[in-house]
């Protein structure tokens, strides 16, 4: 590839960076709170709730994310053409538009849904570990001082959990930035998509290396960012 072509490729990739960041950002936005809820459900004293949550986590962590993306994406078209599909569900599913601009929106939402469901399970396990690592004495001290259960969780426990889960969470977040490339399999137009396309056009590996560089820079920035946050939270032990 000529220098000019490379520069053009770089500009093109910058445009496709946005969808990658969009998927990354929205996944974190939903998966982190959902992960906290899932963690609390798993620790729930009502056994069936705890078991069901555990089953969900097992499935999400035990099967490939790529497979989950495909299943979620094809669930609507497959279900509504299934003869056994209940009528009310078919009517509901028939309202989903798969073609044109609406189809693009549908695709993003389904990919996002799969990412959120998957990452929430991983975050849940991290958060649960964090919550369970807080000594019992913290709950007892809070109880003696009259804090309600909600106050205890939000004022005493959660701030300490945040500090403890940062290292493990940073791993997940960095993995996520690279995992967004899986959306390429559904035709989602992000960095990996344009890299593969340009590779074919130019019969050159340069687009792939450039895509790699984009992921590398994002992962490195995140590493630096998390290092900074960890340091900030180091004001107490």
């Amino acid at each position: 590839m000529t220098g000019e072509e490379t520069l053009h490729l770089f500009q093109l990739m910058l445009q496709y960076l946005l969808p990658t960041l969009k998927l990354f950002g929205f996944t974190l936005l939903y998966a982190i709170p959902l992960g906290m809820i899932v963690a609390l459900l798993k620790m729930c004293r009502i056994k069936p709730i705890s078991w069901l949550t555990n089953l969900y986590i097992l499935i999400m962590r035990g099967t490939p994310l790529l497979l989950q993306i495909i299943v979620v994406y094809y669930s609507v078209p497959t279900l509504r053409s299934n003869a056994h599909c209940p009528e009310f569900l078919r009517t509901l599913l028939n309202t989903v538009e798969l073609k044109g601009d609406a189809g693009t929106v549908y695709m993003f939402r389904m990919i996002l849904l799969a990412f959120v469901l998957n990452y929430a399970a991983y975050f849940a396990e991290i958060f649960r570990g964090g919550i369970e690592s807080i000594p019992k004495g913290q709950y007892e001290a809070a109880g003696m001082l009259g804090f309600s259960r909600l106050q205890t969780f939000f004022r005493i426990i959660l701030p300490q959990v945040v500090k403890r889960v940062i290292p493990a969470s940073s791993n997940e977040v960095i993995t996520l930035v690279k995992d967004t490339s899986l959306a390429y399999a559904m035709g989602y137009m992000e960095i990996m998509y344009i890299a593969k396309k340009q590779m074919t056009t130019f019969s050159s590996l340069t687009p792939l290396f450039m895509a790699g560089a984009f992921y590398f820079v994002m992962a490195t920035l995140l590493t630096i960012g998390f290092g900074f946050v960890e340091k900030k939270l180091n004001y107490y032990k």
């Binding site: 000594p135 007892e140 001290a141 001082l145 107490y236």
Partner: protein, 249 residues
């Protein structure tokens, strides 16, 4: 004299293990009680039942002439909670909140639980800290303090809620002997001010000097109780003398 604590026939078991069997004793206002006895005698469990960290299985508890546990079980949630705020507990391993400054450790409950004005709570906290000789540490985090300092902060934190009765669960057991003295000094000062206290301790000399009454527990029962002069004297039961002889040698 007002009764601050009335415990009768208190029982508690963990599974098949009966830890408290029929504990009965009273505490008068301004009295300092030392609870002594060998490990596993149920001292800590007794304290945890009185501070509601454990649910007793039977018996009755009255705090400040208000029923907490009766023959019909525990009182309603609201009563139980209001009684709890009249009792303070100082833990063996402090249990300060590590992510809060010393000052916030003390003001958090008055502000969030008692809905006190923040500046007022801070003023009161600074008074308590200066009483503990720690006003310079208000902005420090617990991890920056020595064990003795942390324990003094935790005493200040308990006092910030103005409890009617203060319980201590082996307050010096996690401290080296040099730091033990500073905690005992604080407790002595509180005693002089008329604070009602129940102290589980292994510091026999301290129990003898400060307590108005000493309770010796073993095997989930109170073996003997009385004035320090009685328990530490020659007329104490053989078992008490045998136990104490280990500390004197």
């Amino acid at each position: 004299m007002a009764k601050m604590l009335e415990v009768a026939n208190l029982q508690k078991s963990f599974g098949d293990l009966s830890v408290l069997k029929d504990i009965t004793f009273d505490v008068n206002q301004g009295e300092v009680i030392a609870v002594i006895g060998p490990s596993g005698s149920g001292k800590s469990t007794l304290l945890r039942c009185l501070t509601q960290l454990e649910h007793a299985d039977g018996g009755t508890i009255r705090v400040c002439e208000e029923d907490l546990l009766t023959d019909k079980g525990y009182k309603d949630h609201k009563t139980v909670r209001s009684i709890r705020l009249k009792t303070g507990l100082v833990f063996q391993n402090f249990n300060l909140f590590p992510h809060m400054t010393v000052l916030r450790n003390i003001t958090e409950a008055p502000v969030c639980v008692l809905k006190k004005d923040k500046s007022e709570a801070q003023k009161r906290a600074m008074e308590l800290l200066s009483k503990m000789g720690l006003e310079a540490k208000a902005d420090a985090y617990p991890c920056e303090l020595s064990g003795g300092q942390q324990q003094r902060v935790s005493i200040a934190r308990a006092l910030a809620l103005s409890p009617e009765i203060l319980f201590f669960d082996e307050p010096t057991s996690a401290l080296d002997p040099e730091l033990t003295g500073e905690i005992l000094k604080v407790i002595k000062e509180l005693a002089a001010e008329g604070m009602t206290m129940v102290i589980v301790t292994h510091e026999m000399a301290f129990a003898r000097d400060v307590a108005d009454r000493v309770i010796f527990m073993e095997g989930g029962v109170i073996v003997e109780q009385g004035a320090p002069s009685q328990l530490f004297g020659e007329n104490a039961s053989e078992r008490v003398q045998q136990f104490l002889s280990r500390f004197n040698s």
